[in-house]
Amino acid sequence: MSDGPVTVRMTGITKTYPRVVANRNASIEARAGEVHAIVGENGAGKSTLMKILYGVVKPDAGETTVRGRRLSHGTPNEAIRAGIGMVFQHFMLVPPLTVAENIVLGAEPVRGPFVDRGRAEREIREVSEKFGLPIDPRNRVEDCSVGLQQRVEILKVLHRGAEVIILDEPTAVLTPQEVDELIQVIRRLAGQGKTVILITHKLREVMAASDRVTIMRAGETVETLETKKTSAGEIAHKMIGRELDQPPKPDGRPPGDAVLEVRGLEADSDRGTPALRGVELRVRSGEIVGLAGVEGNGQTELIECLAGLRTPSSGTVILGGKDITSHTPRSRFEAGLAHIAEDRHRRAVVLDFSLEENAILGLQHEFSRPFSLKFGAMRRHIEEIIRRCDVRPPDAGLPMRALSGGNQQKVVVGRELARRPRILLACHPTRGLDIGAIEFVQRSLLAERARGAGVLFVSAELSELMAISDQILVIAGGRIVGEVNPTEVDERRLGLMMTGHSV
């Protein structure tokens, strides 16, 4: 633990939105040279607290001091001047510009009316060497991997001389190797005397990266613990206010016949480059097949081909013995397919439709008669989903937009499972959800397996892939490059296979 001087002190922070308290008397203290994790479920108030620190949100009460200076909670500019930098979950980069251009954007060194590129690149090299963050300043950001883009964001903050660096859920988009690298970077920054505030809900990273951890629940800061003197179990307990259930596990039942077979599937990406180069896979009934891979290696295109949203250039898709390669999405539904889409807002829900209307998307033919929808049946359908999946608030007439991501996903999962599918495509079904909702989704997938459905489960979370899959396929460069038994593999080896190393 660092005993450096206190750099950030927030006391008695309260922020009330009408009828909702986002922060209640929250207090936090971070020191120079420490990595300070803030953990809590979605909606616990982590983000609000950090937005207040960064000057984006004005609190109703409370005081913030940064390196001895009291902030008036005015604007981000004030916070930036005080030495605070924030790396957001969604990167704020200009893809066609170079790394150097992105980093100096808004604070460009100039010579006359022109940007002094030479000096910009020199400055960046200095910062990148000082903190051990190698990067080529002349690369275009759009050509950088997600991990490198994040590095650009961190360099941007460092280039402006930030002493306090806030990272908001930084590992959500990274591969396991990139996560390890990021943790090293974070440690190094703290080693150089910076204060790193790490917002996360992944306890493994808290344990690996932080010196101290502040736990938030329902808007309050519950406690600040020294990481070394606590355990993941204790943190989880304090975070959700109860004991964490045993993670769900599949039972030992053997799988049945193949329900989904994919042979020699090839397809192009949206940019016209080959995305799938001969994918072969098989999912049997009563089996969860996990699909691991670094994002952008063909998972999205594969699922789209299976769901009827992308036309493969060659290969066949067989569902329950029937060739459905060129079927419409609707006839695939009728053949027994259900799809929990990767991009919820783009593919799975209509945000301006009510819950009731969303609950029949894809089922609209079943819920209609010649000149009208079956409103009574629709109402019963959504009430059933709300009840079974514990959707909150339980109000069928609310627009989908009014729900949190986790509750939106519950409606989607409830809707897709209501089809009683033979094959379920679950594409990143737990992404961005909090612990409670994740557990619900995982249990639902296992329940489908027990019912005898086949599940193709795509996820970026190797731990959950390993926990509930019967078999894990690894996809890289548009091919299935490996097949492993989840009980016999560790995350490191999987991670290596994902990046194309044969193990």
Partner: protein, 349 residues
């Protein structure tokens, strides 16, 4: 139900405020011209809804606007911006008149032909959009020119000597008028057809599967696709239906008022309908009061034309739209903020 009433009341409050503010802003212009705004507005009301003939004319003008407004609103719900209503009503009128003259002089036959004509003017944009993804705004605008000048050419071949209109239709093809009640105004029974179209569009959009799929396509194309909505079919059918409703609007003039097709009869009503749809926030029922408002302003312009320049009415119309747009944006923001609060609240339940 309570939620529905609250939202309607809110919309009405916003729209009324916008109209009131627009009148106030218009008053500034009137004062600048050295006239008394009270006097001008009184005249405007008296000259439009204040007497039988004026009221009849307001309803007559509103009828056409309702047809076109409903057509535009319907396509907008499916995410399609139909700027081609002007050409669609024009071809509809021509087709309706031809059917009455050369096929059979019945209002049913003429109306069916008018709807088909309107749909015909929408065929090219519908196919291009559905099959090739060509932007419907550009194609519908271009179709306006093609249709209007094409129709003008053929009208030239058959028009009565010394006029710009076709032969008159037989009385059996004409619609009922209300000349006695409304002191000889052009109001006719196509008003009921217009209202029926608004009701039909509302029912279609919110009570049927087709409408459900149209709205899903308009709000979230990707989700609609994944939900098994046939996008090409939905796009094509929506544009054709929109064209048909606009085309049907021509019966107000052709069968109800004059009894013949006349060059330039539509006189920009197809474009005015876009403003009406906008004002009605693309709800077919809300299009009705919006059409009335524009009809009052348009008819009132004749009455106040003697004391102030008629342009003041154009200014008023433009200002009303502006205020409504601003009011709408502010309202939407307020609603979004409210929903966000509910979401935060919900996630903490």
């Amino acid at each position: 139900m309570r939620r529905w009433f609250a939202s309607v009341a809110l919309q009405l409050a916003v729209s009324s405020t916008a109209v009131a503010l627009a009148l106030a802003a218009g008053a500034v212009f009137i004062v600048a011209m050295g006239k008394d705004p009270i006097e001008v507005y009184t005249k405007l009301i008296e000259g439009s809804v204040g007497q039988g003939y004026g009221l009849g004319q307001v309803l007559y003008k509103a009828t056409s606007l309702v047809f076109v407004g409903v057509a535009v609103a319907l396509s907008f719900r499916a995410g399609l911006f139909n700027i081609g209503a002007e050409g669609q009503i024009y071809l509809g009128g021509f087709a309706g008149a031809l059917a009455g003259l050369y096929i059979y002089p019945s209002p049913w036959v003429c109306a069916a032909a008018a709807a088909l004509g309107g749909a015909l003017a929408a065929v090219v944009p519908a196919l291009l959009k559905a099959l090739r993804g060509t932007h419907e705004v550009i194609v519908t605008i271009m179709m306006n020119f093609i249709v209007i000048y094409g129709v003008n050419y053929f009208t030239g071949r058959i028009q009565e000597p010394e006029t710009v209109h076709t032969r008159g239709l037989a009385d059996s093809a004409r619609l009922a008028t209300y000349k006695e009640t409304f002191e000889g105004s052009a109001l006719n029974s196509s008003l009921w057809v217009a209202l029926a179209m608004a009701a039909f569009a509302t029912y279609l959009l919110w009570r049927t599967r087709t409408g459900y799929e149209m709205r899903a396509a308009g709000l979230a194309r990707g989700a609609a696709e994944a939900g098994g909505v046939r996008m090409r079919w939905t796009i094509a059918w929506t544009l054709l239906l929109s064209g048909a409703i606009a085309g049907l609007g021509s019966i107000n003039f052709v069968l109800g008022n004059k009894g013949y097709f006349e060059k330039e009869f539509s006189a920009g009503v197809g474009f005015m309908g876009i403003a009406v749809a906008l004002l009605g926030r693309n709800h077919p029922i809300a299009v009705i009061p919006a059409a009335l408002l524009f009809a009052i302003l348009s008819e009132g312009a004749v009455a106040i034309g003697r004391i102030v320049p008629g342009e003041i009415v154009d200014i008023l119309q433009a200002i009303t739209i502006l205020f409504l747009l601003v009011g709408t944006v502010l309202l939407d923001r307020a609603i979004a903020a409210w929903q966000k609060r509910r979401q935060q609240e919900a996630s903490r339940v």
